[in-house]
Symmetry: C2
Subunit: 330 residues, 2 copies
């Protein structure tokens, strides 16, 4: 059912129908009702394809997400989609799998589709591609990680604060041999967490030994192998700050296998708080991000830009420390 079909049936022009739908006040009450009745009767809805071509906007926003299986991103996507839907936008999901190349392909795709906006969890690469969005007038929002672009709205956590909270907690429990498993160096959030960790130890005058700073890729396996290295050290740490909970899962697996007791032998704090964290053995002490709020905020910022707000905004959300059973006094 197209405008043409409907126009024939009602013996009015397609323009009238289109108007009756988008600017009802511009058409005579009698015609309007006749049209609206027919529209309703047939369940007519304008095709998005035709409209998009004409208006040059798709009312679709693309979300390039680092890892959809990660509870943090899944929750963020849910929040984004809720706000988008409430405002008549659809959400095209692209899973980049923490891979710069996959991110690039995703961005290309969104570019072709002429999406109205993009929420991007950037790997820090693909800057040229991102600039093409700016050039083509597509609104960009950095989420969780900064892409490095200047003129984009940004929604992140205050990662430095989060890591500080974690480190401080460990120090206050009496730990001095404190290690960290950081995220990839090219990710701004990982860098922030590492910086906060270092800063705090320094404030407490605790030297950070280089062998206590390891890097993973935010996936469980990398947590596992980092733990392996840590515990093959002459003097393994008594406390560990892990930059996300997926890597922490890897650490826990290693600890189980080697009968390293958490928190007796090793205190563990990590980032993110999926439902499960509290049911783990032991329940995990974590840094909580206000995930849903962050997702909503990103979409709202995007909508604001689409509606013409111009000044760039950066929102850094405050994290919270939730103490459970995985950390203990030295």
């Amino acid at each position: 059912m197209t405008l043409d079909d409907l126009a024939k049936e009602l013996d009015v022009s397609i323009a009238t129908i289109s108007r009756a739908l988008s600017r009802p006040e511009q058409v005579a009450p009698r015609t309007r009702e006749r049209v609206l009745a027919a529209v309703h009767r047939h369940g007519y809805k304008p095709f998005g394809t035709g409209r998009s071509l004409r208006t040059q906007q798709t009312r679709t926003i693309g979300v390039v997400v680092s890892d959809i299986r990660n509870a943090f991103f899944a929750a963020a996507v849910k929040a984004i989609e809720d706000v988008a839907r409430a405002n008549g936008y659809s959400v095209l999901i692209c899973n980049a799998d923490e891979d710069r190349q996959k991110e690039g392909i995703a961005l290309q795709l969104l570019l072709d589709r002429k999406v109205s906006g993009v929420i991007n969890c950037s790997t820090g690469a693909n800057l040229e591609l991102l600039r093409m969005f700016e050039k083509s007038g597509t609104v960009l929002v950095d989420f969780d990680r900064e892409s490095g672009l200047n003129n984009v709205d940004t929604v992140v956590l205050d990662n430095v604060l989060g890591a500080s909270l974690a480190a401080q907690h460990l120090v206050e429990l009496g730990h001095r041999a404190i290690a960290t498993i950081a995220g990839p160096k090219h990710l701004s959030n990982a860098r922030g967490r590492l910086a906060g960790f270092r800063k705090t130890l320094q404030e407490f005058k605790i030297a950070t030994r280089p062998e206590y700073v390891l890097f993973g890729n935010f996936k469980p396996e990398s947590g596992y192998s980092a733990a392996q290295r840590l515990f093959s050290l002459a003097k393994p740490p008594t406390a560990l700050f892990v930059a996300n909970i997926e890597m922490a899962a890897g650490v826990i697996q290693f600890a189980r296998e080697k009968k390293i007791s958490i928190p007796k032998d090793l205190s563990l704090v990590s980032f993110d708080d999926p439902l499960w964290a509290q049911f783990m053995d032991p329940p995990l002490t974590v840094i909580v991000q206000p995930t849903e709020e962050m997702g909503e905020c990103a979409m709202e910022l995007l909508l604001g830009r689409l509606r013409g707000r111009s000044p760039v905004q950066t929102k850094a959300f405050p994290p919270r420390l939730v103490v459970r059973g995985s950390t203990a006094k030295r």
Copy 2:
């Protein structure tokens, strides 16, 4: 950059460029190379909007997912997206939140967008809407749950078998007072799991007391309140089969609060196996679904249909029992 721009620059017609891109063999080698070089130089890519209007297909597939925060669906979405991307399709995600009305809105939206296909985790409602897809030639695949439509490809788990495995495991451990928290009656997967549970108890000549069969909505809170009811019974069960792990989390929370020890006081089996299940306290005995395979299969079935395969296919994947620490001998 559009075909027109490029045509002007190269002084050929837009038709030639379009052809050079889609049927290179039909254009003279010299022209072809000239065109391709310019295309490459400018990074020209046909706009999806124009193409979609002309070809009447969007190369987009819609996925209506029950709950994106649920690890099962997140993993399925990842698999679906991988296969889709590899075949030049994008994925529009709609989160229905286990809500029939939200599902309806999502389906409407996908209808407007003229998506090429839909993978639907049906709530069992919105049948008329689904029929509209069939009428408009949009390929439909039921995933995880059957919509009730006849002529659609279907990817599900063998839920009866999964529940049987769970129930049998409990019986073999010596339990006789076995309860279940089932999913919503209107969902085919929930019905299958309940049927498998009942069938197995019957086979073992164990009477299913009506007060041992409770219904939840697949979310943690409903697991919590069901557990509450179960333990206010004169004779609480010694074993419990929960139809998904989200509800199991609710049960665990209740057990913690009431100092009910799992598995000493209560053996617990549930469905689904997110990474965390093995790290919980105790590690959870679960029925595992081959999630990624199921997601891939759904997308492949969809692609098959898009390419003209006609016979309807139904795939029921076999579940696996993984015994961990949440179940024990009576």
